[in-house]
């Protein structure tokens, strides 16, 4: 395979870059080692917040790209029909000393160019706009431009749009080496063969240091930091209205309480260093820490433990340089690192993509705008949840599958599942991220059998080969009676 630009990594950053570059007359290939976009680690498991941009010090890349990214999000979300809501955020001070920190944050934000920041020091007003907030809250920094979004939906939507505009995506393909010759990048070696490309963009997230080292650029290390989360039942979605932060600690923005765009309540994350880049296991201590942190902001949650529907952990791809790394090099020329993209990476991703395009141009790549670039991507229809009765009727008349609800918690129809598969979902999680089937309160108890059957039918593979997320994650490896016929110690049917 050949391309002008090869992008390594199918997370939010790689997807943003692919979509941005698909505006131009370039051939672009995105290479992802997992079975789907956003499966890698950080994009699928973060807080889903579009930050306002007051956290990072003026002059940092993080600070600048966050504010720019925040400004890009509304249009991007509208073009790609991805849910995004500017709900605003409150950094909540629970004591006198913390109030001083708010003033500092406000100053920082203003220096970064964050609009409309304002410190609310009237407790009455604070409780008016956020009724379930801790009554001991004395003040809060209000940032109306902060928002919430679905990170994996955005990554998937950007990938779909990039493909529509000519980019190629190869999944389940692992880059083993960045190939360069005479000081210039020539492409990437993968486990499935060589991809020739004059420019290689490393957006490999947790593994970006390893990819970079193969290009001879080894000045940073990724030290993953785990964050754990709880998701609550939608019945609690009205509990908070804004994204609620504590006053930030040294290492992270602290344990947040927020609504999600899908109407769940989400709390987390904590921040713990781990050695293993694949260690996304939750821990009992970590989950307790998260719950205790959430109670500081919303004490009412103490009686709502029974409303927890899921917990998960994600890894931040944090580098030892303390800032985002978005760099091109003299040697090997044509190689760009986009690494260490921890929070506010989701917010900044579209701005990072713009910056990368400029860097490529500076490196000599010609960026000629594509005549027929189509910035729009249609979301999958959600007849039962989002659309009018008339629209739903129309869809169902065309195909009864749009009237078969397979996921009763989230009211996902068979039509949506089939369309998700046609758009590239090949696994149970792939369907889940595109449709929400399995994300509700029963966590797939009712819908998994249906979705597995539909995957098998649409992909033309046996049920025994359907996986949760690719690789060896087969969900139902055996047919009944096979163990009896073949004896217990036989290897699984394949």
């Amino acid at each position: 395979m050949r391309a002008d630009v090869a992008i390594v990594g199918g997370g939010i950053v790689g997807a943003s870059i692919a979509r941005e570059l698909s505006r131009y007359e370039l051939s672009v290939i995105l290479v992802e080692k997992e079975a789907d976009m956003a499966f890698g680690g950080s994009t699928k498991a973060n807080t889903g917040i579009i930050h306002a941009g007051y956290d990072d010090a003026p002059g940092t890349l993080k600070g600048r790209l966050c504010v720019r990214g925040n400004a890009l999000w509304p249009r991007l979300a509208a073009e790609l029909e991805v849910p995004f809501e500017r709900v605003g955020s409150l950094v909540v001070a629970l004591g006198g000393e913390e109030v001083r920190a708010l003033a500092e944050l406000k100053k920082r934000g203003e220096a970064n160019g964050v609009p409309c920041l304002n410190v609310i020091e009237d407790r009455g007003r604070l409780l008016d706009i956020e009724p379930n907030l801790n009554k001991e809250a004395v003040a809060a920094l209000y940032a109306p431009t902060a928002g919430i979004a679905s990170p994996y939906e955005m990554a998937i939507a950007m990938a779909e749009n990039a493909v529509k505009n000519g980019a190629r995506i190869v999944l389940q393909t692992k880059v083993t080496k960045v190939v360069s010759k005479a000081g210039a990048v020539r492409g990437v070696q993968t486990d499935k063969g060589l991809i020739e490309a004059g420019c290689v963009i490393n957006a490999a997230g947790l593994f970006s240091d390893e990819v970079s080292a193969t290009a001879g650029v080894g000045h940073f290390k990724i030290a993953p930091k785990k964050g754990e989360y709880f998701v609550f039942d939608k019945a609690l979605s009205g509990l908070v209205r804004h994204v609620l932060f504590p006053v930030p600690a040294q290492l992270s923005k602290g344990i947040v309480v927020t609504r999600t765009v899908d109407g769940n309540l989400l709390v987390g994350p904590n921040a713990n260093s781990v050695d293993d880049k694949r260690d996304s296991a939750t821990t009992s201590d970590g989950l307790e820490e998260v719950f205790a942190g959430a109670l500081k902001l919303v004490p009412k949650l103490s009686s709502q433990r029974g409303m927890i529907i899921a917990s998960y952990a994600g890894l931040r791809a944090e580098s030892n340089t303390d800032d985002f790394i978005v760099e091109a090099y003299e040697e090997p020329s044509g190689f760009v690192n986009v690494a260490g993209i921890k929070s506010p990476g989701l917010t900044a991703a579209p701005a990072i993509a713009e910056m990368v395009a400029v860097m490529l141009e500076e490196a000599g790549l010609e960026l000629r705008e594509k005549e027929g670039f189509n910035p729009h991507r249609r979301a999958i229809d959600r007849p039962v949840r989002r659309q009018s009765v008339a629209e739903a009727e129309q869809l169902i008349v065309r195909d009864p599958a749009w009237g078969h609800v397979v996921c009763r918690c989230e009211h996902v129809t068979e039509g949506e599942v089939v369309e998700a598969i046609q758009r590239g979902a090949a696994t149970l999680d792939g369907v889940k991220y595109r449709t929400r089937a399995g994300m509700g309160r029963c966590q797939g108890g009712f819908c998994a059998p249906h979705v597995i059957r539909i995957l098998s039918r649409e992909l033309g593979v046996p049920v025994t080969e359907v996986t949760k997320r690719g690789g060896s994650s087969r969900i139902l490896p055996y047919e009944v009676k096979t163990l009896l016929r073949r004896g217990e110690n036989d290897s699984p049917r394949s």
Binding site: A235, R278, S280, A281, T282, S284, G286, L287, G306, I308, I309, A310, S311, Y312, P383, V384, V389, A392, E393, I396, P400, A401, W402, G403, H404, V405, R408, H411, T413, E414, C442, Q443, G444, G445, F446, A448, P449, H450, I452, R453, V463, T464, T467, K468, R469, G470, G471, S472, S473, R474, L476, P477, Y478, E479, V480, K481, L483, L484, G487, E488
Partner: protein, 376 residues
């Protein structure tokens, strides 16, 4: 209306009705469906109710007719229950393939014909978990243990005997799963003893290699629709508060089966459905069956809940109660008067008390209690 693809799909191998007939769940349910159809009742499968409102308007959807907008004189809620999940328990660890709730595993094995693994650990000893332990064993899988956090099993004693003892499957009481291991596929679980507060005891952890973890850790009546309608729920049962006609807090809205409270035997489910159906029909025909005299039935000593929560005290009625803890040789008292003796009560097994005579309630309430009988 049922969201399922076939009748009785939620009880695929429920060959355990108390009355001793030997039918699978679908067979059992189909008998009723056939007789209803013979009486001219329209029965819709794959039809999901999206909304139900106070004025008994129901919005539903299916593939054949699209959106259905129905107005009824009476409504019966019979949505059943769902299973508690790993997420609700908060078991730490990774999220590999191979973790399923017992009912889902049952559906996959008995209806679809596929198995999630061949070295199985079952967490929770509810009836479906016990039945699935036997099911896996009969399929040639190794069931390594059934792990139960409480000091007694969660399912019926006869299921412990017939599903575990008869197959040599160990039941680990006062144990729990404290961690899940594995990448793409489940590789094992950590099992530990728990103390009196149900907290894992440090130092007792053992790792069990397995490729399937089946959860049978409780059922939750599925009342999102009821709540949206404005039906008042009992926090102890998780289901609507009902009177002896199975009428909920909303006039003309009835509820029956597992949506009211989780039953152990299908016979009781059927009986509640018959009462609800009869009441709804009478209401729709203009008879006002709403109780005139309303006594609140309240749980007393060693009683977690009583259903129905409201009785007239004037007609014969059957009370279902769930004990808080196991006890042998007990007396069940209703309104201070002795109603029945029982050799033993256990939380997993509903206690059924038939009241034939008039019940006197003090200030409109009747307390039901389970107390130890003095040895004679």
């Amino acid at each position: 209306m049922s969201a399922a693809r076939s009748w009785g799909a939620s009880y695929p191998s429920a060959s355990t009705p108390g009355s001793g007939c030997n039918l699978t769940g679908p067979e059992y349910v189909s008998r009723f469906i056939r007789s209803a159809q013979n009486l001219g009742v329209e029965c819709l499968l794959r039809t999901t109710v999206l909304k139900a409102s106070l004025d008994k308007r129901i919005l539903a959807v299916n593939g054949a007719e699209g959106i259905l907008d129905l107005s009824a004189k009476a409504v019966v809620l019979a949505m059943g229950c769902r299973e508690r999940t790993r997420g609700a328990l908060g078991i730490p660890g990774t999220r590999p393939a191979g973790i399923l709730t017992a009912g889902t595993a049952q559906r996959l094995m008995d209806v679809e014909g596929y198995m999630p693994g061949k070295r199985v650990v079952i967490l929770g000893s509810g009836d479906v978990g016990l039945i699935m332990a036997r099911r896996f064993a009969m399929e040639g899988a190794r069931v390594l243990a059934v792990v139960e956090v409480m000091p007694y099993p969660g399912g019926l004693s006869r299921n412990v005997v017939q599903c575990l003892d008869d197959f040599g499957i160990p039941l680990l009481l006062e144990h729990t799963v404290t961690r899940i291991h594995g990448g793409d596929r489940l590789e094992g679980v950590t099992v530990a003893e728990v103390d009196k507060l149900r907290k894992p005891v440090a130092g007792t952890e053992k790792t069990v290699e397995c490729d399937a973890l089946i959860l049978s850790v409780g059922l939750i009546p599925e009342n999102e629709l009821s709540r949206d309608m404005g039906v008042i729920l009992d926090p102890e049962t998780g289901g609507p508060i009902v009177d002896e006609n199975m009428e909920t807090s909303l006039e003309g809205v009835y509820a029956c089966g597992n949506v009211v409270h989780v039953h152990d035997l299908v016979d009781h489910v059927t009986a509640s459905g018959e009462i609800a159906g009869r009441s709804a029909a009478r209401y729709a025909l203009g008879e006002p069956p709403r109780l005139k005299r309303r006594l609140l039935v309240k749980p007393g000593a060693n009683v977690r809940y009583v259903v129905p929560q409201v009785i007239s005290g004037e007609a014969p009625v059957t009370l279902h109660l769930r004990a808080k803890r196991p006890e042998r040789y007990v007396a069940v008292k209703v309104g201070g008067e002795l109603s029945a003796f029982r050799r033993a009560v256990k939380p997993p097994e509903l206690v059924t008390i038939s009241l034939a005579k008039r019940v006197r309630g003090k200030e409109g309430t009747v307390r039901v209690s389970i107390t130890k009988r003095s040895k004679r």
